[in-house]
Amino acid sequence: MKAVENAVRSDAPATRVVVVEDDQASADVLQRRLQANGMVVSVAHDGRRGIELVEELLPDLVLLDVMLPDTDGYDVCLRIKSNTSTSPIPVIFLSARGEVVDKVRGLSCGAADYITKPFQAAELLARIDAVLGQARNPRVPRLGRPIERAPGERLVARVAIADPALREHVEQLLGSRFDLAEADETPDVVIVEGNAAVPADIPEDLAVIRVSPGHAGNDGNEVIPIDAQLPRIVDLLVRERSLDHDLQAAAEALIVLASAIGSHDRPGAGHGERVASRAVQIGRALGLDDSTRMTIRLGSLLRDVGNARLPAAILAKQGELTPEERATLERHPILGEEILAGFKRLSGLLPIVRHHHERLDGTGYPDGLRAEQIPLEVRIVSVADRFEALLADRPDRPAVSEAEAVRILQSAVARGELDAAVVAALATQVRAGGNR
């Protein structure tokens, strides 16, 4: 009972289970049994509350009765599996309905298992173990992106391993690619053995890599085996981390600049940050991965950086713009792209900067792109930008409510301007209470 044993161990996070069971007595028995095995259990007695609990707690597992007072378990399961936030959570049906057709129906709805009542506790715990074991996705070292090495440049490593023989062996291996740190020298990377403590004099932001003479860690820690591949792996990890730091620093500087510019033409502070936050949420609802959401966030924050090259008088103007002024203003996406074009690692967000005013029907600017020519990330930022703008007072109109803003955007969808699925994702968020 590995999962159960892990949960019982004081240093392991407890397995969190939501039980959706309408029968009070059955729920109590189940709750006590699971708690006795170290699990944290929350109980709902109807489907609506069950879904609320799952969305609120994001548990490790859901145990779901089929027959519920307000709906059936299949409906609850389908809702859990249709929400990007909750869909990875495994669901096990517990039901007295043991016909093959019931089991097939439950499993076809996305459940990981179907257990017929009455069941033995040992069988339930074994099945929970099996399901949780399949659901866990062990983290692996990120070695996917090869990073070119600058010619002649060698990084500095310190090997902080207590065992002299092992330390010497690791130093010999690393010598092919690294200089070894002198006593008073700050290294680029520190090598420690297994779970050993990091030396106290090492700055917190320094790269620490854990190595093992045996095998790679399989308990969730990233432990690199000590073999001929060690120098290459350490080199890649350190350079990737360094580049990420550089990119983050550059992007933060640009974001500060863009925010400062934005404050000149936006009445409320923090509009850019709100757009970015909203766009990231939409991206999450659409199942986009972390990397894409980061691109969306940075693109949102920097989308109007081109305003820096526009005349301040146009940005500050309160009344209606002349056609010439409007044409000038509509050049800001192009100017923004020019400003950022020099940052190679920001190239992924240039389409957001250039195209965030394009429309699916081709009536946007600056390029008049149509539907399939506009990347999804851009469409998400466009929707978030327009939505957040509607929530703020403007000289020409007052702010509207979130629900009204969604209706306005749905009208824009009906006119063919915005992506219906992106607005639908936003509408779902707003209905669920949004983030603010």
Partner: protein, 266 residues
């Protein structure tokens, strides 16, 4: 009862092809699960279970429309040709356009009747067809050419329905009765040129779920007497005589969320 000329060919070199012989009647009813159980029990006493639609097999239908929603607008007026991709899975997939067999379906809906034609092809062929890079044979009603025209006008996948279908078919295919439940509607983000050709498309937000069961009767000519009675029973017990799943899906997608109650098709 008129004979059906439903044809079915499955070969490795040509697409599987099924088509209605002529326009057929199509009525649909939204009923409670208990009514649906009674109806399907009666149906099972008179018609064989369709082998193509096993119980709790998930049907996933991806509907296409243009940026200006021209197909939806035409459907609301009572006459439109749907262009859609149908997939079948044992468990509910969270993606559409997955590798395997795709059925490219053309369905010409009018007030009381419909005409359907479909081709079973590998998904990469279906994708190529949607991009306008592959043609289909046009053996019967010219629906494929009309679909190609829609694609030239910019029609792309925009909405998805998923449901479990229980289907009974007469041996000569002159009568088909289906019950769809666990009906779910999803948005689908607009496809871009940079999307991987072979990658399945993740479903967008869940737009709505329907708690009831949709019973559909499709037939040529006259109904047999037991089916006439069944039709009357359904009509008496229906919650809503409702528009097609396509119209309901599009209303949810566009925020016209008074759903199935807007128009009464029959």
């Amino acid at each position: 009862m008129r004979p059906s000329s439903v044809s079915k060919r499955v070969t490795t070199s040509a697409p599987a092809h099924e088509t209605d012989a002529e326009r057929r009647h199509e009525h649909r009813f939204q009923v409670s699960e208990s009514i649906a159980r009674l109806v399907m029990r009666t149906t099972a006493n008179n018609l064989p279970l369709s082998r193509d639609d096993r119980p709790y097999q998930w049907s996933t239908t991806t509907y296409c429309d243009t940026v200006s929603w021209s197909i939806f607008r035409a459907a609301q007026k009572g006459s439109a040709m749907q262009l859609r991709i149908r997939e079948y899975h044992r468990t509910r997939p969270r993606e559409v356009m997955t590798p395997g067999t795709a059925w490219i379906e053309f369905k010409d809906d009018e007030q009381d009747t419909s005409l359907k034609e479909r081709f079973g092809v590998p998904m990469d062929v279906a994708r190529a067809f949607l991009r306008g890079e592959a043609a289909l044979p046009q053996p019967d009603h010219g629906l494929a050419e009309r679909a190609s025209q829609l694609l030239r006008e910019g029609a792309r996948p925009v909405a998805v329905t998923q449901y479990n279908r229980l289907a009974y078919n007469s041996l000569d295919s002159s009568l088909r009765i289906t019950a769809d439940h666990n009906l779910m509607y999803f948005a689908l983000p607009w496809e871009t040129r940079t999307d991987g050709d072979a990658d399945p498309s993740p479903l967008g937000s869940l737009l709505a779920m329907e708690p009831d069961v949709i019973v559909e009767m499709k037939w040529y000519g006259e109904l047999p007497h037991w089916a006439v009675d069944l039709h009357a029973y359904l009509k008496e017990n229906t919650r809503e005589e409702r528009p097609s799943k396509f119209i309901v899906a599009m209303r949810w997608l566009l925020g016209e969320t008074d759903g199935a109650k807007k128009t009464r098709k029959k």
